[in-house]
Symmetry: C2
Subunit: 335 residues, 2 copies
Amino acid sequence: MERTKKMATIRDVASEAGVSVATVSRVLNGKGYVHEDTLKKVQQAIKKLNYSPNEVARSLFKRKSKLVGLLLPDITNPFFPELARGVEDELQKQGFRLLFGNSDENPEKEQAYIDTFLQNQVVGMISATQTSGLHKGEPHVIPTVLLDRTHGGNYTVYADGREGGRIAARELISRGSHNITLLKGPGNISPVQDRFLGAVEVLAGANVDFHVIQMASLTYEEAEQRAKELFSHYPGTDGILASNDMTAAAVLHEALRIGKSIPDEVQIIGFDDIPMSRLLFPALSTIRQPVYEMGKQAAQLLLKLIKKEQVTEQNIQLPVTFVERNTTRKVKRDG
Amino acid sequence: MERTKKMATIRDVASEAGVSVATVSRVLNGKGYVHEDTLKKVQQAIKKLNYSPNEVARSLFKRKSKLVGLLLPDITNPFFPELARGVEDELQKQGFRLLFGNSDENPEKEQAYIDTFLQNQVVGMISATQTSGLHKGEPHVIPTVLLDRTHGGNYTVYADGREGGRIAARELISRGSHNITLLKGPGNISPVQDRFLGAVEVLAGANVDFHVIQMASLTYEEAEQRAKELFSHYPGTDGILASNDMTAAAVLHEALRIGKSIPDEVQIIGFDDIPMSRLLFPALSTIRQPVYEMGKQAAQLLLKLIKKEQVTEQNIQLPVTFVERNTTRKVKRDG
C-alpha cells in the first residue's frame, strides 16, 4: 500500500510517548534496561505514528553489525570449547562479538544456525562443521573461514593432521610397539581422515602388524564400546593410536580395567591435547594441536576478509607436536 | 530532517534493481544465498529510493524473533556444554533458536553479551552466570530464567546442591573416612557454596576431622595446584570432597602419582557427573546433577514466560543422586 504522508521522526515518537529521545533510542536499539510500562508507551507511539527507524533499516543492508557467527559440530567434545575460546578472545580484542551455534553433527541444525546467523546480520562466519552449503564453493553472502574441518575451502585454518598421524606412528614404533591398533574416526571428517592416513603411511613402511577399528562417531558412548572391543578382538595389541584424546581416555580406562600395565605392556597416543589429558593417570601422551592458536588465527583471517584487508595466506596450516607424557615408554637411546 | 514524499515499496526496489521481489526479500531478511553483484544492486536501489522496510522495523518492537540468549560462565568446564545441550534441544523442539555467550567468569563480557542479545532481539534469556544486573531484581526488558547459579532470582532452575553436599559427606563417613579434606570452590558461586554448606552440616555433626582448602577459581590450573598442596598440607587425609568433577580428577591424578591406593587409602567424591568421570581410572564416584534435565526445564520455564502461559512453579529444584563408582569403598554391611 502506497501513501503520501509526513514521515515521523524519533522526536515525534518521544513526544507522543512522553519520554526522552534517549529512551526511544534505547527501545529501538534494545540496549539498556527500559521499564515494561515505558516500553509499551514507546511501542504504541511508534505504531501510531508509523515511525520507521531509518538508522536500523540502514544497518540492515550496510551490514554494519559487529557480530560473527561460529559453527561448532559438538560442544561436548572439549576440543571445540577451546577452539571457540581462541576465536572469541581475538574477536573481543578487535571489538567484535560472537554468536555460537552447535550443530550436533546434524546438517539440518547446521543450516538452521547459518540461517539464524544471516538473519541476525553477522558480518562473517567461522565454521568447524561439514556444512555442505559452505563447502560446495557456492558464493557466500558473507566472508567465511573454515576451521579445523576445512575440506578444501577457500579460506581455511587447520593443523597438520597428516604429519600428526606420521609423528604418532613413528613415536609408537621407536618406543617399541610391534602390534598396533588404530581407532579411526568417521571418514567424512577431514582432519580425522588426515591423521589416519598419515599414520598408515608410516605403518605401511614399517615392519609392524596393524589393525584398524572404524568408529561411526566421536561420542563418549562409542569410544567406550570400541575400547572394550579392541582388547577382545586384538589381544596382542601393544600400541594404540586413538583418533582423539577422548577416545584415548576410554582406551586407557579399559586397558587399566583389564589389568594391562601402561605403558609397559601397551602404549597409547591420543590426538588434540585437551585439558583433561594431563589429568588422566598415567597422564596421556598425545599429538598436540595448537587449538587456541587455530581459533585465534581463524578470527584474524576472517577479520581481514571483513575489513577487506590484503590476505597473503588463504590457507593457514599450523604445526602439531608430540607431547610426551606417561602412556608411552621412554625412548631407548643407543650408545 | 522531515520531508514529505511518497514512500517506496519493496516492488519499487525490485523494479529499480531489476530483480524479483523474492530476491529483495532475501536480502532484507539476510536469508538464503544472494550473489554479491545482486546484493549490491539491491542495496543501491534501497539507498536510491530511501526504502524503509517496515516489516523489519515492526519486528523490532513487536519482538517477534524466535531467538533465545544463553549465557554460560565457562564453556571449557564440561558441565556447561551439557547444560547448554539440554536448553538447546528443548528450544529446537519448540521452534526457537539459541544464541550462546561465554562470559568467561568476567562481568564485563557478561554485560557485553547481554547487550548483544538485546540488540539482536532475543525474546528471552537463560543465564548460568552471576550477572549483577540480572540478579539485582531490576525489571527485565525480557523474560529471564536463572540456571544453576541462581542467587535467588525470580525464575530459577537448579539442583539441590545442599542435599548433594550432605549426601557426599555421609557417603564418605559411612564408607570409613575419618580425616576429610574439602576442596571448596569460590564463595560467590551459589551452587558451589550450597554443596559446601551441606557437607559441613554433616561433618560438623560427625566424629571426624576435616580441613577446608579454598579455591579462588574453578580452572584446571588451580585444580592441579590445590591437588598438589592437599597431600602435603594434610598428609593424613583419607577422604576428599571435591567441588566438582574436574577438581576431583586433578586430586585423583595427584593421589595416584604419589602412590596412594584408591579407594583403600583415600576415597574421593566429585560433583556434577561430567561425561569424563566414568572414563577416569578408577572411575569417579560423584554426586550427579541432572544437568541435561536442568537445561531442558529452564528452557521449558522460559518458553512459558515468553508465551505468557501460566507458571505454577517459579523456582524449580531438581534432585541429585550419588553415583557409586570406584573411588569410594563398598559399604560395610553389618550382620
